[in-house]
């Protein structure tokens, strides 16, 4: 019994010592990884914040929402940017590894924009038409009021949150095998700007040099282009939140940074970059 007590005592000491680690000050460097859609926004936030807080070091990289969430789970990043909500399976992994469900912070709103070449006469498409186009059922522009030319599809890689969100909310089945996957919305915009018969999708902030296609829920609904008003009012049919995910509730420098992002100053940058504020 005495021996058992000694063992318990030793185990208690080890546990108390380990508990002490929890109170150690967190390092000042903050790593941010994830959504390519959010990378310019995250970089802007970091850049402006570091100017006013010279002691802070914030490192931002993209890679896609899936990659960011994996990095959050395996401890390779402090903040994960994601353009889609975390899946239950990802939450389970976080729970299994850190005994935590993670913290979800909606930090901006986005309207997934449909990009067309500037010369394309098509002005609006319904969600159903978009589904048919990106699933490969509709292959010619003639079928949706355009020229008699094959439709060229440009999309994102499957690690992208935009890819997952667009698939779940619009395509609702598998993407057509002919859809060319590109790394980042900027690459999609670039490809569509050079292809007369191309169509792509991506975050609103990147949509320069291409035509924005208006989107309507169905034949009877009015068509909307993604802008601050239509997204805020929920009129534009393909809107979503952009999220930051953390393993645990933020403390110290990380809390200060996130509070600043959600402050009017941080949210002003959201609009400046081309997204829509959550406030």
């Amino acid at each position: 019994m005495k021996k058992l007590k000694t063992k318990f005592g030793m185990a208690a000491i080890v546990m108390i010592a380990l508990f002490g680690f929890a109170f150690m000050p967190a390092p000042k460097k903050i790593t941010v990884k994830g959504s390519d859609t959010m990378v310019i926004l995250a970089q802007k936030w970091a850049e402006v914040y570091m100017k006013s807080h010279p002691e802070a070091v914030i490192q931002v990289t993209g890679g896609g929402s899936g990659t960011g969430i994996s990095a959050l789970i395996n401890g390779a990043t402090d903040i994960c940017n994601s353009s889609r909500p975390m899946k239950q399976s990802e939450m389970d992994k976080l729970k299994d590894r850190y005994a935590s469900l993670g913290i979800e912070i909606p930090c901006a709103k986005d309207g997934i924009t449909i990009f067309l070449h500037e010369s394309n006469p098509v002005k609006e498409l319904t969600l159903k038409q978009l589904s048919n186009i990106f699933s490969g059922k509709t292959r010619n522009w003639k079928e949706v009021g355009g020229p008699d030319e094959d439709i060229k599809l440009y999309g994102r890689e499957n690690s992208s949150g935009t890819y997952v969100f667009f698939k779940d909310q619009v395509v609702k089945t598998d993407y057509a095998a002919s859809c060319q996957t590109l790394p980042g919305t900027a690459a999609v915009v670039n490809a569509v700007s050079k292809d007369k018969f191309g169509i792509g999708y991506g975050g609103a902030a990147y949509a320069a040099g291409v035509k924005h296609c208006a989107v309507k829920k169905d034949d009877k609904s009015p068509a909307y282009v993604a802008d601050s008003e239509t997204v805020k009012k929920g009129q534009y049919p393909i809107t979503r939140y952009l999220y930051m995910y953390l393993r645990n509730r933020p403390t110290g420098e990380m809390k200060a940074y996130i509070d600043w992002i959600l402050s009017p100053e941080g949210q002003k940058l959201v609009a400046a970059v081309g997204y829509f504020s959550v406030k």
Partner: protein
């Protein structure tokens, strides 16, 4: 004037020649350019052909790669050093491979998944998972599983590669041996609601050892043992507690039966319950469990998880009949020669028993930073709630029937008369006594895990099983004892005191 005319004439001659020369030169340059253009055209055509060839090859390679992305390979190896404090353990410390698993997952089309997971532990290669999963592609809510997979229970489904302590709790190991079962399952998990419903039907005898009279497992391949199928259901729901954490609650039930494999069935307290018409009659395996998992963000992740299970678990018996015929004996009685044979029929039978049991486990887990985790678990298992610790070793059922049938004479001849006398003797030994399988255990497990990275972790675990003491007889010896032999020396465990059975585990896990 003449001079001027001569200059003009000279110029008139030279200029056309110059123009002609320039024209010829320009024509030559044009021809050269045309040649270059033709060459360029040829080169461009060649390059275009080459690019087309490369594109074709890329398309083929992409097609092949796309096929490869449908195959997912994962797995983990747990290599460990174990130190046993139990006196009966020899060797008392070993290096071993606890789990060596590779999981092959193939998704040929969206929504259809094949999973195969063998365990390559040396000397005991087994197939852990082998199932087909059909996911509903439209509502993304339903999935149908068929094959061999985990039974729907929290601790069973919680992967060993993620578990915070080395092994599962005692009650789970007892009622869900080998964790997996063969059957079919319907899962309902609406994507927007944190609700999960699992309904399963299994053969019901997976992982069970069904012994014959000599203790040999009569069903080593775990084929179905009877016509009855066992049903399982589990419902879980998770409440989000804002940014503080989450609370998951759930319940599961098991409704099953198994062949008694013997005629007599006992109650949990070893009293007589019934006699079956035949050994194929069934005994009960019914229980329910309630679970909860609380995740709380307190300076990093903190989790409190537990489950309470109770019910009736049937254990089949056996019936082994042997017949022996003695040699013929002769005697003379009243001028009659009597030839006698004796046939002895012995039935060694162990009754089946339906034991009421209960058990629970509670985990406390704290993550410290990104790399450290400490965990403590308390688990309790009472395999027989109807027999108190004092009665273990005393409670028993013992029925012995001895029947002798004699004087079945057959006469032949007139003088002298020969009588043949067939005697039949029946002996039935039918008994079952409470013992080690009824002893209650509480187990404390402490563990510390260090995560090197996402793939590698090292765990130090210490398990302290504490048996509840049984009563003692008038000689001061425990009512339950068990002998063990180490290096030719036989010793006895006396369960009237706490037997030292602690185990230290130092485990290195690599996951990919």
């Amino acid at each position: 004037m003449k001079k001027f005319t001569r200059i003009l004439l000279t110029l008139g001659l030279i200029l056309p020649m110059l123009v002609l020369s320039i024209t010829i030169k320009a024509q030559k340059q044009i021809d050269d350019l045309k040649k270059e253009q033709d060459t360029l055209k040829e080169n461009v055509t060649t390059l275009r052909d080459k690019i087309s060839g490369v594109e074709e090859r890329i398309a083929t390679a992409e097609g092949d790669l796309a096929k490869l992305t449908k195959i997912k390979l994962s797995g983990y190896i747990q290599a460990q050093y174990m130190h046993y404090e139990a006196a009966s353990a020899y060797p008392g410390n070993v290096f071993m491979l606890r789990r060596v698993r590779i999981k092959f997952q193939y998704e040929p089309i969206n929504g259809v998944v094949f999973v195969l997971q063998p365990d390559f532990v040396p000397g005991n290669i087994t197939l852990k998972d082998a199932y087909v999963q059909l996911n509903d592609r439209w509502l993304k809510t339903f999935s149908l599983w068929a094959g061999k997979f985990n039974r729907p229970n929290y601790e069973v489904e919680y992967s060993s590669s993620n578990r915070e302590v080395p092994e599962r709790s005692r009650v789970i190991r007892a009622i869900y041996p080998d964790e997996r079962a063969t059957g079919a399952k319907l899962e309902i998990a609406p994507p927007k609601i944190p609700l999960k419903i699992q309904l399963a039907v299994f053969n019901g005898n997976d992982g069970l050892t069904i012994s014959d009279a000599s203790g040999v497992n009569i069903n080593p391949l775990n084929n179905d043992f009877d016509n009855h199928k066992d049903f399982m259901g589990r419902v879980t729901y998770t409440f989000k507690l804002g940014q503080i954490g989450a609370l998951g609650i759930g319940a599961h039930g098991y409704y099953g039966k198994i062949k008694a494999n013997t005629l007599d069935v006992l109650n949990s307290d070893y009293t007589y319950n019934r006699t079956n018409d035949d050994i194929g009659k069934l005994i009960k395996k019914n229980w329910v469990g309630f679970e909860a998992q609380l995740y709380f963000d307190f300076l990093g992740g903190l989790a409190l998880k537990g489950e309470y299970i109770f019910g009736v678990n049937g254990t089949p018996g056996y019936t082994a009949k042997t017949t022996a015929v003695s040699g013929m004996t002769s005697s003379i009685k009243n001028d009659t020669l009597i030839l006698t044979t004796l046939t002895t029929s012995t039935t060694n039978s162990r009754p089946a028993i339906e034991k009421n049991f209960s058990g629970y486990y509670v985990y406390l887990i704290k993550n410290i930073g990104k790399r450290h985790q400490i965990a403590a678990r308390y688990d309790y298992y009472d395999p027989n709630t109807k027999v108190s610790s004092d009665q273990i070793g005393i409670a028993a059922y013992d029925a012995k029937i001895k029947t002798t049938v004699v004087d079945k004479f057959t006469y032949a001849g007139t003088d002298p008369v020969v009588a043949t006398n067939a005697q039949v003797k029946t002996v039935v030994n039918n008994s079952l006594k409470s013992g080690t399988s009824d002893i209650k255990y509480q187990t404390i497990t402490l563990a510390y895990t260090y995560f090197f990275d996402d793939n590698i972790k090292i765990m130090l675990g210490y398990e302290i099983p504490l048996n509840k003491k049984v009563g003692v007889n008038d000689k001061g010896v425990g009512n339950v004892t068990s002998a063990y032999t180490v290096n030719g020396i036989t010793s006895v465990y006396d369960y009237s005191s706490v037997i030292k059975q602690n185990t230290l585990t130092l485990r290195l896990q690599v996951k990919f």
